[in-house]
Symmetry: D2
Subunit: 466 residues, 4 copies
């Protein structure tokens, strides 16, 4: 209907036209992945300009932008990078125009014209490419397109920092599109579409889902799973959280994930354990949903299951072993402890050595005593790591920082909470509960974000003093 | 859950607190409408500041913003105006900070820091109140809240131009939230919820819907009705269009609306007549949907009813009679015509006089000749009004301007197309067809927006020459 | 796909074939309504036989039955009656076959073959036409088809009792298809489809819905409306009930229907008043839903609004005035009362006279005393009518009989409960509350259905004794 | 709400009461499974009688029946059998009443009372237990309850033929409830609920689904899967069919199921291969859906994919190898063939021997010639088996009988069509295509069901003659 008058494709891009005729980018994608040679760049420029000028009316301009988006999708990685570089270089802020607008604004100070002058200046400070990004929303899957574009950009930026400004432009747009007020909180159950459940398996980043059976067990009657969705990406969860409804705070994730464990009665549970929270869209890095997700889920649970009184996480300590094996700080151990620790540290692969001690059949080789001592050491040091290791005023551990920012407190440190290979390697098998005490959340948040003060329970205090 | 620590209400606002406890603004709204006395202003400021500073974390800040929104809703008109004035005056751009950022930006020219400096400057040019507006999205009906706030602002601004900057801020936010890519196109039928249908009756602005029977007739098998919806306002149409599926271009809206007319077979129709298009949300004035709506509906109709070949409007000429009775331009009439026209113009109420001639039982009083002559005069002048009367390079008639901007052409002018009281009073009973010829839309648009050139059919050309 | 090999149409039915080709019975219906002349009867027989023999396989047979159904729909009333008469006469039980089966059954008594012999006999006792009726279910709207066929049959049977056996066959099938276990209870609100709401207006049989405004008022926050639907007739309510959520038992339906009355808080209501219950499908006469509807709605209300303690109707007494003006029983009035009553009874139109007394501006003509006395008379007699007038052991009043069978008790008789023209004419303006006391329902039912004993409140007892 | 006045439980059934109070049969099911001792039988009788007499009104009676149903669910296998035996023995047809009704009917012959007398007799021939079965529909999952009850009955009947009459009663009820006109045809895709997809894996009975990956491959773009559902069992498919959209008739199921095969374009396919059709509910044995399913799916495919011209199955021949290794008919082989066949037949395990020849790497052991000859023998005998081996006038092979009854023809016999262990063991690795030629379906059906004549293609004819 709104065929482009001035197609920008050259010889190498001729095949792309077929896409625009057939509308089927998917099909072509695997056949031809042109790399956008120089000879096509001027055609590309013309196409972009037509979009930005609104040639043929706003409806046509949007349709053209969609064509551009589809063209991008058929390019090979090199071609895509050239496309994006063109946007960065040639569709940046117009400095001369900004100069003029600044003068105008300065002249308007104290006058009634100031508001308008400010607006004009502000508009000029938005690079024209940002408008093009918005126009991509015309694509049928425009929101997903931009999220995926951002994911690609994040990969490219590492090696090609010149693309960073474009990354920032995309991020700003995504922040506005993914405002929490637009998202849907949906419960995920075994009756949810397999297409979505499959994505949980793919995206779960804390405790890998090993099979559909494992997944089904996480959706059983005494479990809850919630995800945020965007109305324009209904098949793509943005972030999801897995919750166990139990009695008393759980300290062991293996028990929670045990497919043979009996199913409890959710109506009788007094505690909700948030044991996994995973972001799904790499392209949304920097857009934060987690804090809202936890609190909306808490509100939903409270409304439906009034017996729930306690809301806590069961979390890994992802940076602990890394910190432990590389820190140069004094560890403050007793003599006995220090001796054992020296042995450990002197081992060819200290982390491997610890793993064996933690998980190993310790009796055979008479390591019972060592293991017990190592437990004491690790528990104490873990508490210190969580509470005292900082980057500026922030907790060094990223998971700790997330929950503390949200207003949680460090409630309990659990020895042997995650005895998987990965759990031992990363967290020494230890897990921690962050407690969301509803009445304290604001105060905790203010203390932590204001002065870096971390709220901890008496049991953690005791560990620190030990 | 996230109760405000520092309630800002005073004596007169004490009742508002009950709302926050009960959460039921509706209930209180009719009982108490405080006017926000000076004594409360400092409390209001504290509440706004807490939101903007993100006190207690982003979740709490959002919850507080929602409370502020609910508080706004219980204020009386004077109180609301004071609330908004506070936002305009005290939460405006910080000029000093902008000065500094400009210096920084100027210093960064040619350097790698420029992008960041530009961003900072841009952010500072956004007034803090705009952030608060975004936070209102936390309200359960946050999107509707802002749309309604804008509607109020538009009323206030007329008498209180100092609020204009806030109006602009709200509009910018709404433009971003109501991006066409986020809207759903939905077909409206007699099976649609009565709650939505009731709104069509309320919002129809071209040919009033007189009853549910009239409405049902507009939704019968050979009619179509489509509306845009926002996912966060699912019960509120934003704009809707009514279409008749007929054979050949219709020139008479009375026939289209006749509840006794036989129902045609939509599969056999060759022409879609867009006979009414109405915006529903006053608060979205300035956000344009109409062009997109028409073209999406055309695309939908083409896909489902492949026999449709012609897409045309049947439109009023809302400014014609007003122009005709006040214009001072020479009308270029023949002698005979001019004589009749002088009689008409000399009448006490020329428009009333014409109405009688057009609609009246002309035979009784021997006005047959006069009526025929008046028809000739009005048809000729209507063509001139539509094609030649301009405001700058734009058509003077607002409906003409809308369709011509969209790329339509003036196809046919229809005598007696709308013989209702209103139709005669406004358009001399004449209606016009704007034809959307898909292959010409872009060209027409470019000609019209570029040089003001209006594309017309040969029949309209003939009228102009007569 | 499964075209009939042996079309049964003759000259007059040729047009019907076009339907089968085009599938569009609706279209033809208004053009041609053949009356099924004798020359077509043999073709019709052949078509029915093909269905019953399962010619071409069960799928084809069903398809043929659907064709027959569509053919029926295009016949004119006379043709339809001939069609049905053919079914009654020629597709009845085969008496000779039954004779044989009876012998077989008698011979099998005491043997293992009895069960099979019984089954065979039972199958032979079902007329073949009943199988054809079931096959009509292949029609896209097959369930509705049969319901409508029944409605027509009910009209025909009055003048043509020979059709009664077919009516019974259809009813048996409908009883099985409309088993309460298959029905959906749906709440009706203002957000329900207008197509369904329109039907409420049409079907309401107790207190006519005068307009969409009246309807909307009955769906407001402190009202409830529920209907049963069949999964194969999703746009057609079968029966619906209207409920008001109030405080204390209401005695006046005018107040409940007042569109200007303030909306109460449903959460705070302690009483649910069932003030209207209407059957929607004439063709389902004899299939009872009302008792189930009331009790499912009670269960639903109890679950969602735990403050509700009392469930009562506010009902008309449809047979009261009829009985009063025609009964020959002694009324048992005092002398004063009898004198007034004699005057009333002697009036040219006693019911009209009473209406004036009840509703009239009584002061002008000094009728105050008479009116007060008439009230006493009518209240007392109404109580007697409800409690003591019987047909066998059943209450004479059909509404009373319905609620008493359901286990309700007569709670209160309300003077002036319905002062509409119709209300006064039918019930003397009196309304009655039937109370559903959950703990007493079974006992009341058993008393009433067992011995005809009616449970009444002390206030009704007092009226009876007065 | 409608608590039973006369609970029938005794000591061993006391726990059941808790279910009725808590409504949670699931919970108790694993804890207590009473066996319904004699002491409880009289209580059970009382409860059944209360249902059948409609004690307390029909609503209460239904509620009581639901309680009985829940009670049944907690019984252990022995208890359930006793429950059902009670129904068979004590709630059977009342022979004396039937005797009387027969007399009445005989007396009414030739009179107007005959219809009524027939009806009464018919009603008396329905055992009272059948009414109780219908009342179970009050259970929330009443339809599923009865389907499962039937599945249990089918198991019990084998060892306890006295239950057969009850089985027949249940079947009759299910036939009426599962009339094809009430079923929904739904397409199953990867976006369908995992809970339903899981059931496909469980119920697939032709080519086992080995994993979720296998399942996903069967739902890809060039595949279709459809199932029938009952509106009261929305989570339980009744029967489903898997279809491949390909070009030309497929002869090899391994290729169709290959997860690595490229995905074709469904719009371009000319052939739909029905390669698997599975019944899901054991309790619905005897209720036939397959014929309708195939033809509704064909109609749906034709409407959506107009390029499809050929509709064929790719089917196993489940009885072939069984027949081949046990038949005593002369095989009609040539001398060469007979010699090889004698060797095969003389082998210790002839079927195993053939498997090796069919699947084995034949070159190594010089069996090339033997294998080629065996192929000829098997293909010829397979054709004979399919076309000539009969049970009465029906094809001996049950799959052949199913498709031939539906009006299909035997189109092609495919060597090596299913080289799985199971495929070779059962069908000698051979598969057959049954072609559904729409224009021939009725004729084929009539020939087959009338005279047992099987329609075959010329290629099959050739095989038969070879």
């Amino acid at each position: 209907m709104y065929a482009a008058e001035e197609p920008f494709w050259g010889k190498t891009l001729r095949l792309i036209r077929d896409i625009w005729v057939s509308g089927d980018a998917e099909e072509l994608k695997d056949k031809v992945r042109p790399n956008l040679p120089d000879s096509d760049l001027s055609r590309l420029r013309a196409a972009i300009n037509a979009c930005l000028e609104g040639r043929g009316g706003e409806v046509s301009a949007r349709a053209r932008a969609a064509q551009l988006g589809r063209a991008y999708l058929v390019l090979d990685p090199e071609g895509r990078q050239r496309f994006l570089e063109l946007l960065v270089k040639e569709y940046d802020v117009d400095d001369a125009a900004v100069d003029t607008a600044i003068e105008k604004r300065n002249a308007a100070l104290e006058s009634d014209e100031l508001y308008t002058a400010n607006l004009e200046l502000r508009d000029l400070l938005e690079p024209p490419r940002a408008r093009l990004l918005r126009q991509f929303n015309e694509l049928k899957e425009g929101v997903k397109f931009l999220v995926d574009l951002r994911a690609e950009l994040l990969s490219m930026v590492k090696e090609n920092p010149s693309l960073r400004p474009l990354d920032k432009d995309v991020l700003r747009l995504l922040v506005s599109w993914f405002d929490i007020g637009f998202l849907d909180l949906q419960r995920i159950t075994w009756s949810t579409s397999a297409a979505i459940l499959e994505k949980l398996i793919e995206y779960e980043s804390v405790h890998a889902i090993s099979s559909w059976k494992d997944l089904k067990n996480r959706l059983r009657d005494d479990r809850r799973c919630f995800a945020f969705f965007h109305p324009r990406m209904p098949d793509e969860p943005l972030i999801f959280v897995e919750v166990a409804l139990v009695n008393g705070i759980s300290g062991n994730v293996g028990e929670l994930l045990d497919v043979d464990a009996p199913v409890g009665d959710p109506e009788k549970a007094d505690t909700a354990i948030f044991y996994s929270i995973s972001n799904c869209q790499r392209g949304l890095a920097g857009v934060s949903f987690g804090n809202f997700l936890i609190k909306r889920v808490v509100a939903d649970l409270v409304a439906k299951l009034p017996n729930l009184k306690t809301f806590s996480t069961l979390s890994p300590i992802p940076g602990f072993m890394q910190w432990l094996t590389t820190t140069t700080e004094p560890l403050g151990l007793s003599k006995n402890e220090q001796e054992l620790w020296d042995t450990v540290a002197a081992a060819e692969n200290p982390r491997e050595y610890m793993k064996e001690l933690i998980a190993g059949d310790t009796e055979e080789n008479g390591q019972v005593v060592e293991a017990a001592l190592l437990k004491e050491i690790l528990m104490k040091l873990c508490a210190r790591y969580l509470v005292e290791s900082k980057k500026g005023s922030q907790a060094l551990d990223r998971v700790a920082h997330f929950h503390l920012s949200n207003g949680a407190q460090i409630e309990r440190i659990n020895w042997g909470g995650d005895l998987t290979e990965h759990g031992i390697y990363q967290s020494g098998g230890i897990m921690v509960n962050y407690l969301y005490k509803l009445s304290q959340i604001e105060k905790n948040h203010e203390l932590y974000t204001g002065s870096g003060e971390i709220t901890i329970s008496s049991s953690v205090k005791k560990l620190l003093k030990s």
